[in-house]
């Protein structure tokens, strides 16, 4: 069964399909404004016409390429291609500015690969027990995990923690526009038709990252200078010693990615930020984070790719999609006559192994394609910023319109861009805002569901074991960060005096 499944992936047609999917996925992932979700959505009709294994392999290739491709633009042009690569830019962009773009890309690509493989292997062997564990999650646990994720805002706030927390709250507030969860009560829409749908993650993310980049390029136009580009790289650009030093970090990040990926509603977009924050907390030299060290890239890229395997576990074993991409994958599988769920492993054994095989092949191809392309990608830096960013804006507009087929999202994108520019100028960190925006609906939905479940009692949130542990860690990490921050500011003041 295992062999038949795996062998069906190795036919030349399927291999070529996966390659095509991976390349297209990387292109969509790396262009700001186009996302993995969009790549899968656009190729869904194409996959219907293919034989089952080939169709599923195409979609998986797109998924893996799309999640990983975001690192290219995050590192090279400081605009995350997908929400999954927001944290990659914290250290990737400074490295590229120092002329280490090649090393940053190489590290990101290598650990993307390792993260995917790690999660696929666990998916292969541990799917059923892990899925059983995930089923134990009731609204109480979801609420606790979301609160825990939000407390990491504190450690993502560079400089002022108050500003970081404010920024996170603003992100939560922006997500409230439109229909409320559960009862679709209209909030902040003021009868405006377009506002009733709320804001799209894409226009928020691209708005906050791409537009300010263009405005900053316009502001500093005179100061733009040629940057040195690092082409002397051996292997992946990092030494064996550096690689070994990153293993604990990578392992932690992979587990975080897998765990977060498991939970529907919280996927790669969140896991990269959480892994980054945890790596920073665990590091002996947290102050170096954000200045361009590989630890940050390793944490972010390992975890966002590990989320792929994580997200596929509930999809395949329970038929529950965790995010928009997996929802689309579910659609693709069902159109092929494959019904994910507990029976899938029994009824479609060989196909399950084909899926594992396709995932594995796709990650190897992602590694080869991206690694082979590094020299080409780095050349992006040679294009003058005014040309590159203007064309990028055009593509962002296309992406914003395409995500919901309305012009409103493009307007919203520009409005968020102006807000982002102002916030950056006032020294407010943006990552907490993105995290707040992503998690806001999950937080509110599960709080309200939990309260309904308990009949208006908050106690179960605190007494259920898993929920209690997460809320406990959340409290410790939050107050720990505050104490750390206060100590640092007083020390700075003493140093100044």
């Amino acid at each position: 069964m295992l062999l038949t499944g795996l062998l069906s992936v190795l036919s030349p047609v399927v291999l070529l399909t996966i390659l095509g999917g991976v390349v297209l996925g990387i292109i969509f992932g790396s262009i700001p404004g186009l996302s993995a979700t969009m790549a899968v959505a656009l190729c869904l009709p194409i996959s219907f016409g293919m034989p089952t294994v080939q169709g599923v392999a195409l979609l998986l290739g797109l998924y893996i390429g799309g999640i990983s491709g975001g690192l290219i633009s995050a590192i090279l042009i400081k605009i995350p291609g997908t929400p999954s690569s927001v944290a990659t830019l914290f250290d990737g962009a400074p490295m590229a500015e120092r002329g280490l773009a090649g090393k940053a890309l190489g590290t990101g690509i290598l650990f993307s690969f390792l993260g995917t493989v790690f999660s696929v292997v666990l998916l292969m062997f541990l799917s059923p027990p892990i899925a059983k564990f995930a089923l134990k999650f009731s609204p109480y646990e979801y609420f606790a995990v979301t609160v825990f994720s939000l407390t990491l805002i504190a450690s993502l706030s560079e400089g002022s923690m108050l500003k970081g927390l404010l920024s996170g709250c603003v992100g939560i507030a922006i997500a409230m526009v439109g229909a409320a969860p559960l009862d679709s009560f209209q909030r902040f829409s003021y009868g405006h038709f377009n506002l009733t749908l709320g804001f799209q993650l894409l226009s928020v993310l691209i708005g906050f990252y791409a537009i300010p980049e263009i405005l900053i390029a316009a502001r500093d136009a005179a100061a733009i200078e040629e940057k040195p580009i690092d082409f002397q790289m051996k292997g992946f650009g990092l030494s064996v010693k550096e690689f070994v030093g990153q293993i604990p970090n990578a392992l932690r990040s992979a587990l975080i990615g897998l765990g977060i990926g498991l939970l529907p509603g919280i996927g790669g977009g969140t896991s990269n930020l959480i892994a980054y924050a945890s790596a920073k907390k665990a590091s002996k030299t947290p102050e170096k984070f954000g200045t361009g060290i590989i630890d940050g890239i390793v944490a972010s890229e390992t975890s966002n790719n590990a989320s792929i395997g994580g997200a596929l576990i509930p999809l395949l074993t329970l038929g529950i999609p965790g995010d928009t991409v997996t929802a689309m994958l579910l659609g693709g599988l069902m159109m092929q006559g494959v019904i994910p769920g507990p029976m899938l492993f029994k009824n479609n054994g060989p196909l399950v192994y084909s899926i594992f095989g396709a995932l594995f092949v796709a990650s190897v191809m992602m590694l080869l394609v991206e690694f082979g392309g590094i020299r080409m990608f780095v050349r992006l830096l040679k294009i003058p910023k005014n040309i590159l960013l203007s064309v990028v804006l055009c593509l962002c507009v296309v992406g914003a319109i395409a995500s919901n087929n309305r012009l409103f999202d493009a307007y919203a994108m520009i409005a968020f861009g102006l807000l982002g520019y102002w916030l950056t100028k006032m020294k407010f960190p943006l990552p907490p805002l993105i995290l707040g925006f992503i998690l806001s609906p999950t937080l509110e939905t599960n709080l309200r569901r939990g309260m309904q479940l308990s009949g208006g009692d908050f106690i179960p949130f605190l007494t259920r074991p898993i929920s209690m542990v997460f809320l406990g860690i959340a409290m410790i990490s939050f107050f720990g960060s505050i104490i750390h921050d206060v100590r640092r500011t007083t020390m700075n003041k003493k140093a100044q005096a």
């Binding site: 656009l42 136009a221 005014n386 040309i387 012009l407 916030l423 020294k427 309260m451």
Partner: protein, 207 residues
């Protein structure tokens, strides 16, 4: 109440943009403090105070919007906290945090002023980059033209203008480079997305 506050909030921001943030009372107080008696607040403090005041107003707006929702919505059932709960909660958080931001900057400043140890910053003129404003104008023009004129033509116009604005000076060679890029890329993007991926992009007058 919520609507009124929202209007006053937006007015505050728009007025603030025009006249150096004199929109709300708090902001104008800060404005007064920033420049009185020839002592100029350092930029960091001033920015924190201005943004703190704006966020305070935003928090109040969120909170009262939440109260406004309570009037419109059905009473929550089965222990549900209802759709007004989160806006109110986040509103309170934002108010507390922004008060914290305001006070943590204001108190040291006032103490230093009182003790006379405050080192005044040299007065800096508010710098507005013409290029930034032009870029913003261009983006909005682009959006406005997108639907009636169509993606290809409006993108060509936007791309060329945007590249030229950031570049500043135009030589003949640059004109040629910018011109060819701004014609080729929108056409390519349009062809790929409309014909390969069957996406809908505004076709406008060419359609």
């Amino acid at each position: 109440m919520g609507l009124f506050l929202s209007i006053s909030w937006f007015q505050g921001i728009s007025l603030g943009m025009k006249r150096g943030f004199q929109g709300t009372v708090v902001v104008s107080c800060i404005q007064g403090m920033c420049i009185n008696e020839g002592v100029f607040m350092n930029k960091e403090t001033r920015n924190s105070l201005i943004s703190g005041a704006i966020f305070l107003a935003f928090g109040v707006y969120l909170y009262f919007s939440g109260i406004g929702f309570e009037g419109r919505m059905r009473p929550p059932m089965n222990g549900d906290v209802g759709p007004a709960f989160m806006p109110k909660l986040i509103g309170i958080f934002i108010m507390l945090l922004s008060l914290g931001l305001l006070l943590s900057n204001l108190i040291p400043y006032l103490m230093k002023r009182k003790a006379g140890t405050y080192v005044s910053e040299p007065r800096q003129k508010a710098t507005f980059s013409v290029k930034v404003i032009l870029t913003v104008v261009l983006m909005f023009l682009y959006m406005l033209l997108l639907s009636p004129v169509g993606f290809i033509l409006s993108s060509i116009a936007y791309l060329f203008a945007q590249m030229a604005v950031i570049e500043g000076t135009l030589t003949k060679k640059k004109c040629l480079v910018f011109g060819s890029i701004s014609v080729v890329s929108p056409v390519l993007i349009y062809l790929v997305f409309v014909h390969v991926f069957s996406l809908m992009l505004p076709a406008g007058i060419l359609g």
